[in-house]
């Protein structure tokens, strides 16, 4: 008797919880379908056998792997493998340089005290908020003076030179590392430089992977800078600019499925890097957010 009295409201609660769970899961399913649908559509189109830019039906009439094969073998008109390698090279170098810049700047702002530290931090924060392409023409002419236009080196510089401006997430992370560790190391005779390399960096794996990942993505998705910098030099194009050539008015209908295949291939290095660093990546964001 007593048991039942307690049981009824308990059952009632469970029902409400269940209903709530059900509704939220339905909502989540709907949202994830909306989010994943374009990706799924792109995948399907990259395997579509019949050509054409637009179909009134969703499921392709035939599936083929030929679009991917053409992308890598039929390079007479569109040299995708070359563009892919260009992008990979630029991405690797700019992500290494960017990461070093960001970590060093953040460390300095977090650990050192010097005149004008706060004003400098504020200026950098404000400057970092302006979109980079506002200074595009100026950047172009500076690079031209250095004879670096139409080179991959110039592109690496464009993507990594301003990196220090986005120091604040990493700085927030460094601020959470107890200063006592630094002090202990200093007492043992370590310089600031040694502390950075030996103490701080090994403890900052999450934020390092976060910076690596976000800077690796930039060259794959940027279109504006690379098109201004490279002009017509097709053998120095990156994938974004190269793939764009496929969907010109005259060629879109013949090459659209290959374009989709290219877009899928572009995501592979990003996915590999993400899977490799996934554990640290998630740790990086929450670490920086909660502790900072």
């Amino acid at each position: 008797m007593k048991k039942q009295n307690i049981g009824t409201p308990a059952y009632h609660l469970t029902f409400r919880t269940r209903a709530f769970n059900f509704i939220s899961h339905v909502a989540l399913t709907v949202l994830s379908v909306i989010w994943l649908f374009p990706v799924f559509w792109l995948l399907l189109n990259s395997f579509r056998e019949e050509s054409g830019a637009y179909t009134s039906y969703f499921l392709p009439k035939g599936l083929t792997f030929q679009n991917y094969i053409n992308l890598f073998t039929n390079t007479g008109l569109y040299d995708f493998p070359l563009w892919f390698m260009n992008t990979l090279i630029v991405a690797i170098f700019s992500c290494l340089i960017t990461t070093m810049f960001v970590l060093m700047t953040s460390y300095v702002f977090s650990r050192l005290r010097f005149p004008a530290r706060r004003p400098m931090m504020n200026i950098m924060l404000v400057l970092g908020m302006f979109p980079g392409f506002m200074s595009m023409v100026a950047v172009y002419h500076v690079l031209k003076l250095m004879n670096l236009t139409q080179t991959l080196t110039g592109l690496v510089i464009v993507y990594s030179a301003g990196a220090a401006l986005s120091y604040y997430i990493a700085k927030g992370f460094f601020d959470t590392i107890p200063r006592a560790l630094d002090e202990a190391a200093t007492i043992d005779g370590a310089s600031k430089n040694t502390v950075f390399w030996r103490i701080t960096l090994p403890m900052s794996r999450p934020i390092i992977t976060f910076t690596l990942l976000s800077s690796f993505i930039a060259p794959w998705v940027d279109f504006i800078f690379v098109s201004v910098l490279m002009k017509g030099k097709a053998d120095k194009f990156t994938v974004a600019l190269g793939l764009r050539q496929m969907i010109e008015r005259e060629t879109v209908s013949a090459y659209f499925t290959q374009f989709c295949a290219g877009a899928v291939v572009v995501s592979i290095p990003l996915v590999i890097l993400f899977l490799m660093t996934q554990k640290h990546y998630v740790g990086g964001i929450t670490g920086g957010a909660t502790k900072g």
Binding site: L77, I123, T149, K231, G232, K233, A234, F237, E248
Partner: protein, 415 residues
């Protein structure tokens, strides 16, 4: 206070950036567009290697490669070092404006960029062989590249316009002559046709047919908020509500023709897809006539060309002009037609049997009798008219006069 200093410093740095932009675009290019071609002998000194950078779209690279080979074969005495760059005709003006010095010596571009390029002094005036160039190309294409009596570029194609594609098994050659015929035939077959009045480039055909948007002294006159304009909008509304009209532009027509669609307005770049779908039933002709304001009027269109230009900052103006001249010669225009389906502006090439046999180019040639050059369309024309077209499609225009007044005001304001 500290914040204030930080902000001021940031603003100063931003200004420095902007100053960088300003000086780069304001300084007049050395040499300018009026430079004389110099007295260098054609082809340069013996033993000298002449560097020429040529821009064209990716799909046109094979054609350019072939043209270069033939040019070198035709000039065995000179050593050329050609470099090909990938810049589409539509992007050439933008890429050139960013840095004329790094731009191509010879490049293809579309005509709406001509006036800007000339005003900015980026085009080298055509000073060699000009009379021949004027006489061998069709008049409309020469007119487009002539400003203030000077020739500024080499006409390469005369094919950037629109006309009517149709499925011969649905619409007969008699029906396709009038919009009413097309509507009746499409309704009878339960199919749709496209006439994209949501695309300002095509919407113009109704106003042009009414004698509006005319050019006076190189300036488009936008005062179609009158009785003629109202009649044009009424006619468009009647078409949209005819039951046979389908919304859409390139994608819908290419996908639907032969199955759900009976025909539609399109351009030369859609020919390959549409003819592959229709096979023997492939038909193309000028735009139909339409009943506007109680009268049967021929629908008009915009017409554009592609040209080859020479950079005013080229180091080898003579060689660049010779190559541009060669690239737009009769033989090369025919090659461009064979390899890429581009409609020639050269009179002889246009009269050749192959070009004459091309259904779509014949349709375009027919339509060009009723076409108006789009070179001097006001920059502010496109967006308001596109918005008007979409309102007509959605049946949102009730007070036509008021809607047109607003569109004209917006266009005038933007310029």
């Amino acid at each position: 206070m500290k914040k204030l200093i930080a902000l001021t410093l940031a603003a100063l740095m931003l200004l420095a950036f902007m100053a960088g932009c300003a000086t780069s675009s304001d300084s007049p290019p050395p040499g300018g567009g009026n430079a004389s071609p110099g007295s260098a002998s054609p082809g340069g000194a013996p033993g000298e290697v002449i560097d020429l950078l040529v821009w064209g779209p990716q799909e046109g690279q094979a054609f350019l490669q072939k043209a270069i080979e033939e040019f070198q074969a035709a000039n065995p005495g000179t050593t050329y070092n050609f470099t090909l760059g990938v810049v589409g005709e539509d992007m050439a003006q933008t890429r050139l404006s960013e840095d004329p010095e790094a731009g191509a010596d010879v490049f293809s571009f579309v005509d709406d960029g001509l006036r800007n390029l000339v005003n900015a002094g980026m085009l080298y005036e055509v000073t060699r062989n000009a009379d021949d160039i004027k006489s061998r190309n069709v008049e409309s294409s020469v007119d487009i590249v002539t400003l203030d009596g000077k020739l500024w570029a080499y006409p390469q194609t005369a094919d950037n316009g629109y006309f009517f594609f149709y499925d011969k098994s649905v619409i007969s050659e008699e029906d396709v002559k009038s919009l009413d015929g097309i509507i009746a035939a499409s309704n009878a077959a339960g199919k749709k046709f496209t006439y994209p009045i949501g695309v300002a480039w095509v919407t113009a055909s109704w106003f042009l047919a009414q004698g509006q948007l005319s050019l006076v002294d190189g300036q488009q006159v936008c005062d179609f908020n009158n009785a003629n304009g109202v009649a044009a909008v009424e006619a468009m509304q009647a078409m949209v509500n005819s039951g046979a009209w389908g919304n859409g532009w390139v994608d819908e027509l290419v996908e639907g023709i032969g199955t759900t669609h009976s025909g539609g307005v399109g351009g030369i770049w859609m020919v390959a897809d549409i003819s592959a779908k229709l096979g023997d039933n492939f038909g193309a002709t000028k735009l139909p006539t339409a009943k506007i304001g109680g009268k049967e009027v021929q629908l008009s269109s915009f017409f554009g060309c592609k040209h080859v230009g020479v950079n005013s900052q080229t180091k080898n103006p003579v060689a660049a002009m010779e190559f541009a001249d060669f690239l737009t010669s009769e033989a090369m225009q025919l090659l461009n037609f064979e390899m890429r389906g581009m409609g020639p502006s050269n009179k002889n090439a246009g009269a050749s049997a192959e070009v004459q046999a091309d259904i779509a180019l014949a349709a375009l040639a027919l339509q060009s009798n009723y076409a108006v050059s789009q070179r001097d369309v006001l920059g502010g024309y496109w967006s308001p008219v596109e918005a008007l077209g979409n309102m007509i499609i959605n049946n949102e225009v009730t007070n036509i006069q008021a809607a047109l007044d607003e569109v004209v005001a917006q266009i005038t304001e933007a310029n």
